[in-house]
């Protein structure tokens, strides 16, 4: 099986080579609209001499064009194409997504944001992926940092940060209709309309519906339906003075919500409103003000949660001699009502919490800009663990066609509402403290002949105070380390053909205090991280009308979940029939039958989806 797949993908890659046509254009000259042209960034389109990614961190960006051509319909599917992100489909509606281990339905060491709005759940830890959605055609890029980002983003950015950034309304003008269906009656339908309201003021509105049938008859309660509407308004008040207002409303259900007496499904609904104002002051400082309000309702077996979040962040960037300074302050208010059934196990039922934070970072350019020292610290006060200090020191050095960087960071994960406030008999979460990590990273980027770029990162994360289950409640009696190496290669074999090869290897070694009852739990966590992963992604523009992508993926076994290692292939063929109409055929999980990814009882099956898109 494995050999067969490797030879298949090689054949696929090398036949492409023979046919690839030289097409040197960075844009589609006759297929790009005025509003798109207006927003094209020259530097990001050109491969300059210093085209190496200059961040002193393990950063990866999935671009709009890539998201577009991959035919993905969920954020989770898009994240499968990012090196180092562990994405496992639990069932038709749920995902386990993490970076550098500790994965699970509630993977709690990864911070995820949409346009700066955190979608990390303060109730459970992690992200409830089933209730978070965007119109992928309107996503500008997905930025992913592997490793801690606490010095800027605060608590819970322990192992990584993902920021999903949507396009400005100028870039999404006109009508877009998308419909995707696969042979198992899974459907995704999107409609978006963008128009100009006034000079420099643009608007878009959208509606998205998706539904997925249950995986199979044995496991029949993972079917889902999700509806979402939203808008984005962008107003360029003046040069370097831009205002964005955006919001979404959603409602969804997973499984059969049978009755109040025996609920077995999940329902979710909510909405958010966000305002983002960015302007350059007279002092040339760049000011950013981000504020949002969010309301969510989530109902899972045994628990109903209603929640309101109000968040405001202010940030200013200022260049002073060779110092690039960034500082900011933030405030967050959370009001919730958590009802459990049939018996009470959360106390208090209603809670109001506040988080305040302040951070500062100085990026000092030395040796003619070749050496950068980046020092930052964030202070956060929250009602669960009181004061948290999150420092980070980074160093980068530029060499000809190469760069090396090193970093040390401290990160914490703060106990969440259900962990901290669990009260059931003698079992309590009141003594739970924050989880802590000390992370050392070393990176190297190198470019050869404008064709091949390598991004290599080695890391060692030391964890203390990890959550443990004890007789009388949650405690922090697990500690240990994760170390690994991540390689990502980007190889431009032809102007029209790009291949990415990503490899990772990691080991996790956790131990428990001698009086802890959690050795088994620690072992489970250890066995939920794949030791090795490999990705080969091929993106080929056959000509102006046709695009073909192939994706071969290997994920090592997860011993704790009884999941075997697997190889699988995705392939997408896109045909731009006319300037306004395209058809895409997306096949996922092609291989020798189905495979398991997280739950040994749930097979993840082949999927062939056909997507139609009209842009008017």
């Amino acid at each position: 099986m494995k050999k067969l797949l490797v030879s298949q993908i090689l054949a696929l890659i090398f036949s492409a080579n023979a046919l690839a046509k030289a097409n040197n254009s960075a844009i589609d000259i006759t297929g790009t609209s005025l509003s798109e042209l207006f927003n094209l960034k020259i530097t990001s389109l050109s491969k300059k001499k210093q085209a190496l990614n200059k961040a002193a961190a393990a950063v990866y960006v999935l671009t709009h064009d890539e998201i577009d051509r991959l035919g993905v319909t969920t954020i989770a599917d898009a994240l499968r194409y990012v090196p180092g992100v562990e994405v496992a489909n639990i069932d038709a509606s749920r995902w386990a997504i993490s970076i550098r281990g500790f994965n699970g339905l509630a993977a709690n060491k990864l911070l995820v944001m949409i346009d700066g709005r955190s979608i990390y759940s303060p109730l459970f830890s992690g992200v409830v992926w089933a209730e978070k959605d965007v119109v992928l055609a309107d996503v500008d890029r997905i930025e992913v940092i592997r490793g801690p980002g606490g010095a800027i983003w605060g608590a819970n950015a322990v192992n990584g940060v993902i920021n999903i950034i949507t396009r400005k309304a100028q870039a999404t003008q006109g009508v877009l209709l998308e419909a995707g269906v696969d042979f198992k009656q899974n459907k995704v339908v999107t409609a978006r309309y963008g128009w100009q309201l006034a000079q420099n003021a643009y608007m878009r509105i959208y509606a998205k519906h998706r539904q997925h049938d249950s995986t199979n008859e044995q496991f029949s309660n993972d079917n889902n339906r999700h509806n979402q509407v939203g808008f984005r308004f962008d107003y360029d008040i003046a040069n370097d003075n831009a205002l964005t207002l955006q919001g979404d409303l959603y409602s969804g259900v997973i499984g059969n919500v049978a009755s109040q007496a025996a609920p077995d499904g999940q329902t979710q609904s909510g909405g958010n409103l966000l305002v983002n104002w960015q302007f350059t002051g007279d002092d040339n400082g760049q000011h950013k003000l981000l504020s949002y309000y969010e309301q969510t309702q989530l109902s899972v077996p045994m628990l109903d949660d209603q929640r309101e979040i109000w968040n405001v962040d202010y940030q200013v960037e200022q260049q002073w001699q060779q110092h690039a300074l960034v500082g900011g302050v933030g405030y967050r208010s959370l009001q919730d009502q958590v009802d459990t059934r049939p018996f009470d196990f959360i106390a208090p039922k209603s809670r109001h919490d506040e988080v305040i934070n302040a951070f500062i970072q100085d990026d000092i350019a030395l040796l003619d800009d070749d050496l950068h020292l980046i020092v930052g610290i964030k202070y956060e006060h929250n009602d669960y663990s009181a004061n948290e200090w999150l420092p980070s020191v980074r160093l980068s050095y530029q060499l000809p066609d190469a760069m090396i960087w090193a970093a040390w960071s401290k990160a914490v994960r703060v106990p969440t509402r259900v962990e901290s406030d669990i009260r059931y008999g003698s079992f309590s979460g009141e003594h739970l403290a924050s989880e802590r990590a000390n992370v050392y990273e070393l990176g190297w980027r190198k470019k050869w002949f404008d064709v091949w770029q390598l991004d290599a990162t080695a890391y060692r994360s030391q964890y203390e105070n990890l959550l443990s289950f004890e007789a009388n409640g949650y405690r922090n009696k697990v500690s240990g380390k994760v170390q690994g190496i991540e390689l990502s290669n980007s190889i431009q074999l032809q102007p029209s053909w790009l291949v990415r090869v990503n490899l990772s290897h990691a080991t996790m070694d956790l131990s428990t205090a001698s009086d802890s009852l959690s050795p088994a739990g620690a072992k489970t966590t250890q066995g939920q991280m794949p030791r090795n992963t490999a990705q080969v992604i091929s993106m080929w523009d056959i000509n102006k009308q046709w695009k073909f992508n192939g994706y071969l993926r290997y994920v090592d076994k997860l011993t704790s979940n009884n999941i075997d290692s697997y190889w699988t292939i995705d392939a997408t063929l896109q045909w731009q029939v006319t300037q306004r109409f395209s058809i895409q055929l997306a096949a996922r999980n092609i291989g020798d039958g189905s495979h398991q990814e997280w739950d040994a009882l749930v097979p993840i099956e082949q999927q062939v989806m056909i997507n139609f898109r009209w842009g008017i």
């Binding site: 040197n24 254009s25 960075a26 844009i27 000259i29 006759t30 790009t32 609209s33 005025l34 509003s35 042209l37 207006f38 094209l40 960034k41 020259i42 530097t43 990001s44 389109l45 050109s46 491969k47 300059k48 085209a51 190496l52 990614n53 200059k54 961040a55 002193a56 961190a57 950063v59 960006v61 671009t63 064009d65 944001m113 346009d115 700066g116 930025e143 940092i145 980002g149 800027i152 983003w153 920021n163 100009q196 000079q199 420099n200 040069n239 370097d240 983002n276 950013k288 981000l290 962040d313 960037e317 960034v326 900011g328 064709v451 770029q453 991004d455 980007s490 431009q492 102007p495 790009l498």
Partner: protein, 167 residues
């Protein structure tokens, strides 16, 4: 919001220079402008003559335009590195002046009637000198503005949509 760490240049899928990209974008603008312009009948022969005056910095970007259909006919491109005879450009419907040489641009504009030919330039005084559309660099993007004084006084008609987009 906090994208400080993301001041990055992404590994790109194309091996083109910044200037290459700029002129590809500009070529795409020319193509887009033509979708919004209606030339008067007497100048039309089933083809839209686009003249590029000055050094050709477009490379192969214009190849994509040559022969392409627009509402006004197929695009035909002519290159002039300099203009000695005004007759040479008499049949141009669109005239693109490459570069930011003010003297040269003035000479070109003096030789033609800007009310008959859609003129496009790429430096900041082009409109002040009587040109119709000026492409300019802002915020790492190419934007354009339209000469408001010429609007309504030209032989060709420009759709309101384009005028609204041109700041």
């Amino acid at each position: 919001m906090r994208q400080i760490l993301f001041l990055v240049l992404v590994f790109m899928t194309s091996t083109v220079s910044a200037e290459g990209v700029v002129y590809q974008i500009k070529a795409s603008y020319i193509y887009n402008f033509l979708q919004f312009v209606q030339f008067s009948n007497n100048t039309l022969s089933g083809e839209v003559n686009v003249c590029i005056v000055g050094e050709n910095k477009f490379g192969h970007a214009l190849d994509a335009l040559e022969g392409t259909q627009t509402p006004q006919g197929k695009i035909a491109i002519s290159m002039f590195d300099k203009i000695t005879q005004p007759m040479q450009i008499a049949s141009c419907q669109v005239l693109y002046v490459v570069g930011s040489d003010i003297q040269f641009s003035q000479q070109v504009l003096d030789k033609i009637n800007t009310e008959n030919i859609l003129t496009i330039g790429e430096f900041s005084d082009f409109i002040a000198m009587g040109g119709y559309i000026e492409l300019y660099l802002e915020d790492d993007s190419i934007h354009f503005r339209v000469n408001r004084q010429l609007v309504g006084h030209t032989q060709f008609k420009v759709a309101a949509q384009l005028l609204m987009l041109g700041v």
